[in-house]
């Protein structure tokens, strides 16, 4: 059985330690969303797992192979940094071919997979930010790997491309490990199965996303008729009657009551993302 093991892993740059004694064991192919504020250590964690940074102490292993010293282990990992990391002066095809020449792989397969055929002969530097990102994502699919590390793969791309990338990763995660860092909490909830939270270089949370409990649960209810009388504890904000409850089950009760009392509900919206708490100070 494949697994990624981080044991008391500390790493950083020069003499500055950025991540501190992180221990994790990922045993199930899935999408693991890595969350944390800017500077938390997500990129450092990815660079250490991908074998670029030498750990100060501890170990990162994939299938019992040390990820820093084993070239074979590193070849089974794909790392997408937040930079495009492609030769800008080349055409899309040649830029991908450049990496295919170095590590092997099938450029035509990538062009089809990410709908890049139309861009094939365009210069990489002439593409829009979103198109560049798509090509950049494409390079990690040149050949098959077992572990994919993606550092904010959907930043700076429009919702359509973002959705395509997410769908691709969801398909991939059926039999591969995907570690995915993002600042988009809604996206994280949408695609992630597991949540890894890093703060100040330390592991703060690791569990299934469904087990994340929120301190407060705010719901906005939009109606055609006024319901302030029916729901006196609510506050009217930006067209929504906002109520704070303990959890989703309580919402079902409230909505049931409102409908019975004649409220014409057109929309119910969760106003806070439980993952938001991981970005808050403290």
């Amino acid at each position: 059985m494949q697994k990624l093991e981080l044991h008391e892993l500390s790493a950083g740059y020069g003499s500055e330690e950025v991540i501190h004694r992180i221990s994790l064991e990922l045993t199930e192919p899935s999408i693991y969303v890595v969350l944390g504020p800017n500077g938390a250590g997500k990129t450092t964690l990815f660079r250490t797992i991908s074998g670029i940074l030498k750990p100060f102490s501890g170990q990162a292993k994939f299938d019992d192979m040390d990820l820093f010293s084993s070239k074979e282990a590193r070849r089974r990992i794909a790392y997408l940094s937040h930079l495009n990391a492609l030769p800008e002066e080349m055409t899309v095809y040649n830029a991908l071919k450049y990496y295919a020449d170095v590590e092997g792989g099938d450029v035509d397969h990538v062009l089809k997979l990410l709908n890049l055929i139309e861009l094939r002969d365009k210069k990489f530097s002439s593409l829009s930010q979103g198109q560049k990102k798509r090509v950049s994502v494409g390079k990690i699919f040149l050949r098959e790997r077992d572990l994919y590390l993606l550092d904010e793969p959907t930043s700076n791309v429009d919702p359509k491309i973002s959705k395509e990338i997410r769908e691709l990763l969801i398909r991939l995660s059926k039999d591969k490990f995907v570690l995915y860092s993002s600042h988009n909490l809604y996206e994280a909830r949408e695609i992630g199965t597991y949540l890894i939270v890093i703060k100040n270089g330390e592991l703060k949370f690791f569990d299934k996303i469904e087990n994340v409990k929120t301190k407060q649960y705010r719901v906005g209810i939009k109606t055609l008729n006024g319901i302030s009388r029916l729901l006196p504890e609510s506050k009217f904000e930006n067209g929504y009657y906002v109520v704070t409850v303990d959890g989703p089950s309580e919402v079902a009760k409230i909505v049931g009551n409102l409908v019975r009392l004649g409220a014409e509900i057109v929309e119910i919206r969760e106003l806070d993302n439980p993952l938001q708490e991981f970005f808050e100070e403290g």
Binding site: G51, K54, R75, L83, P87, V102, E103
Partner: protein, 232 residues
């Protein structure tokens, strides 16, 4: 096509000006090397200092420099690739820092070889036509090639080392590589003038030492410069 071959091609496409300058410098070196065969000596009015015997040595230096100019875009590409994350990605594919350094060195040496071989053949052919002594032509050919290659090797390694070690992308350490790489050229230029009888031996010795130093330096930076130094 392997990594170093692509690197070489990319370098050619990225900075064509350096190639033009390299070729122009080569032509200048060839003219300098053969000019005394064209201009007849004026025995009635001898020059106060006769430099004519030193022209071949000067042209060796200029032809070697042309090889360096021709290969400089490779190191510029190294810096560019470091700053835009290409080197980071290459590391993540399983390459080590030494693999990467070697790729750029190979590209740089191959480019320099192309120009130096052209320069040597062209210079020898012209010298032969103009009646220059065969031993002088042979000596110049060997020295141009050996000094040129050793200089390019040292400059490439030094520039990669300095640009890897500089803390900010816009740091000014990279040109230090050129300065350090050119330093061995001074004794190769001056000592033969002082000891003309040992000119070839001195220059060959300097070239061999430079090659050895460059090789050791390449292996050392492959070990001593950490992968993180290639990150953007």
């Amino acid at each position: 096509m392997s990594f170093w071959q692509v690197t070489m091609k990319r370098s050619v496409r990225l900075s064509r000006s350096y190639f033009v300058i390299g070729i122009v410098t080569t032509l200048y070196g060839i003219i300098l090397s053969n000019i005394m065969s064209i201009i007849p000596a004026d025995s009635a009015n001898p020059a106060p200092i006769d430099l004519s015997n030193n022209f071949p040595i000067l042209s060796v230096a200029i032809l070697s420099l042309s090889g360096l100019l021709f290969s400089l875009p490779v190191v510029m590409l190294f810096v560019y690739d470091k700053n835009n994350g290409v080197l980071e990605y290459l590391l993540s594919t399983g390459l080590d820092q030494l693999d990467i350094f070697k790729g750029y060195v190979k590209a740089s040496l191959t480019l320099a070889t192309y120009l130096l071989v052209f320069a040597v053949i062209f210079n020898t052919a012209i010298g032969f036509i103009l009646g220059t002594s065969l031993s002088l032509l042979a000596s110049m050919a060997v020295l141009t090639f050996v000094i040129g290659i050793s200089e390019v090797f040292l400059v490439t390694v030094c520039m990669m080392a300095f640009s890897s070690l500089q803390k900010t992308p816009m740091g000014a350490n990279q040109p230090l590589g050129v300065v350090i790489g050119i330093i061995p050229m001074f004794p190769a230029l001056i000592l033969p003038l002082a000891f003309p009888a040992y000119a070839i031996v001195i220059d060959l010795l300097i070239a061999v030492i430079t090659l050895l130093v460059s090789f050791v330096l390449l292996l050392s930076i492959g070990r001593l410069i950490l992968r993180e130094k290639l990150l953007p």
